[in-house]
Symmetry: none
Subunit: 162 residues, 2 copies
Amino acid sequence: MIRQFFSTNKHALLYGLSLACLIALLKGLEIRYFIFDHSIEIYIGAIAIIFTALGIWLAMKLSRPKIERIVVEKEVFINSGPSVVNEKEITKIGLSNREIEVLRFMAKGLSNQEIASQLYVSLNTVKTHASNIFMKLDVNKRVQAIEKARELGLLNIEKLPG
Amino acid sequence: MIRQFFSTNKHALLYGLSLACLIALLKGLEIRYFIFDHSIEIYIGAIAIIFTALGIWLAMKLSRPKIERIVVEKEVFINSGPSVVNEKEITKIGLSNREIEVLRFMAKGLSNQEIASQLYVSLNTVKTHASNIFMKLDVNKRVQAIEKARELGLLNIEKLPG
DNA sequence: TTTCAGCTCATACTTTCGGGTGATTTTGCA
DNA sequence: TGCAAAATCACCCGAAAGTATGAGCTGAAA
């Protein structure tokens, strides 16, 4: 505790010591006799000025430089969230391969019949897939499903998972 | 020149003045007589310490801080395309105020009936608006309309035009 | 081998959408 | 004050979407 104080304030103590030495020196030289006896105030004033200067110098030396930190926010534009398909979400939700295909066609605005034609399956199959998609995404309309899929990043162009 | 010096060093001059006042005060109180005559050195030491402290304080006050600029990169995600509502497109396409409202509800996945309830109008009215929207956007399915609106940046949150 | 998930398809039914047409009321602007 | 645009509502009909249920087929895992 005390040792720490000594080590951290080493400079200050040193300066204090040299200060004391200076006083001793002043006394030793008997400068005050050099000045007229009635002008003790001048002497004190001189002392005051000297030590004020010393204090300023001390402060300059000791005080760590005052640093004013100005935080400049530089805006870095990033081209929209995850452009990579969010496979984690897909597996978490449990969407099958085929279901994601259907989901993406749905998002492109194709009707169930059109999706059926694209995938070479029947309309009923597409409807079943759609129902399962809605169940897994916890919605009951295709627009909501698309909305949710968009939020979760399921609609990005990439190869289908595994 | 001189005036500028006075104005810029106003604080320093003030402190100097108060310093002089302090000396006068010390003299006025004749503190030195309170202290034993032979211990004039103690008096001087006290003066020295006081003015050193004063100097330090002065330095603290006066030293202007070093300014350090810290550039922080703030990531701004662009939601692909204009994040501000594209009023030009709206006026170009000729979508009315109400139609945009309906369009946005549609994009949230609400059914026509739900939109009607939200807007306190009849289902038929919403259907009419929807038809007009499809006509103006040159599509024939709500999912396509939403898709197109999203491309054109018509779905961003902002006050409606007009 | 059995089990199970995924994909397929079907039937039947209800709800919602979308297109077409026509009409009345509000409202902003000249 | 009157007109044009906007907003409102109605009715009909067919198409599409969504719900519910059941079932056959396949490949991989237990």
